[in-house]
Amino acid sequence: MSDAAPRLPDRFTEPTTGRRIDLLGYQAANRRNSWLLALVTMALLVAIAYLLAQVTDPGATLFFVGVALLIGAGQAVAGFWFSDRIALAAAGARPATVEEHRYLVNVSEAVAIGAGVPMPKVYVIDSPAPNAFATGRDPEHAAIAVTTGLIELLDRQELEGVVAHEMAHIRNYDVRFMSMLVATLGALLVLRDLFLRWGYFGGGGRRRGGRDSNGKGQGIALVVLLVLLVVSPIVAALVRFAVSRQREYLADAAAAWITRNPEGLARALEKLRAYSGPRLEVSEAVRSMFFVNPELNLNATGMLATHPPIEERIRRLRRM
């Protein structure tokens, strides 16, 4: 019976699209893309800083570029090393003890054994709203947080499904990539706000001061800069949302594999769909990290939705 096990956990065919998914390749791609993203962000920041310097004070170009590199590096480092602590603090999570949350800890341990990953630290969020998220740069430094509402709502098989989904995210290095993406977005937004506020007072003054021969060049640089600063966060947001959905599907599939029980996860999603109580209040940046959209806008479709529509998730699971 057991030697008829379907296929390698590292490679499987996604039932609906028929695409062959190579999990190992996907994980490696995530790690690679995290670094690429950090580099691209730094390049973008340097470009912005350079243009900024050209527009205002070309002599200080080196200074501007240096500051941009520092900010970029700082954001990347924060995104890599500290995102888990930041996310947990932002969600108001506290460590789950065996005495208080024996059930949750047991379920997490069991799923970790099944997934072949070291057991992540388990946290609890005191909230009736059922939800969960995972954080951590790799399986050795990972944590999952689950709301008390979720523990009460789901039975063992359903909770296993949710926990497996979160561990799949960790194992796939999704969290690392997502945190870096969020850090990137943060850096761009900070810079944009800085420029907008500063441009009012500083840049205007200089232009009025003189140097008309440079006026046109400076004008063009200014326009480019403005476009850059307005467009890049939009693009970053779009990328973040689009990327989120594929990852959720993949995590659902991986969770179904780990538990050998897609029905458990499907039932959990159904219960969440039917929930209509108080919602979880979280900042916009971390919303896409949760198991379902905390805004409970669960069937949202279209480019800006942070999660795939819940109907679609249930359907894909049932077709496995």
Binding site: P6, D10, F12, N106, V107, G114, R260, E263, M320
Partner: protein
Amino acid sequence: MGSLIVLIILVVLALYAVSVYNRIVAYEKRYQNAWSQIDVQLKRRADLVPNLVETVKGYAAHEQQVFEEVARSRQAMMNAHSVNESAEAANMMSAALGRLFAIAENYPQLRANENFMMLQEELSGVENKIAYARQFYNDAVMQYNTLIETVPAVFLAGPMGKQPAVFLQIPEGDRNVPQVSFGDTPPPPQA
């Protein structure tokens, strides 16, 4: 010039062979580790038994048969030496514990006892972990066997003396979840 190219090719091949060798060893260690993980969970279950028996005896002292069965299975687990013996002992304990909990159903005061409830959850948790550990072991064995039977590792596995590992036959009803398939192959027949 020609001999330099040959040398480079040989070096590349050698490095590749090293990486394949390392992968064989890593997969082997993984399934062996998975095996000991099963043992760890089985031992945890056996360790919970004395406390459980004492708690139940406090309310149902006359159910001697069940207590003896449980005690015997625990003894069997401690005396088991071979793989088959410990598998049999584990099954014996599962059956005995099942009967113990069935009997506990008749004693509402016992069921309400806090210690009992805690133990019940612990045992439920451990049974689940045993099942997952067995599942992971089989996954690891499958990966290892597939590796040493496919190109290119198959060329190294022979000289290394690596044999395919044995799958674990998961006992009936261990985890009551349906078998699923993930694509091309149809679902395996229901056990």
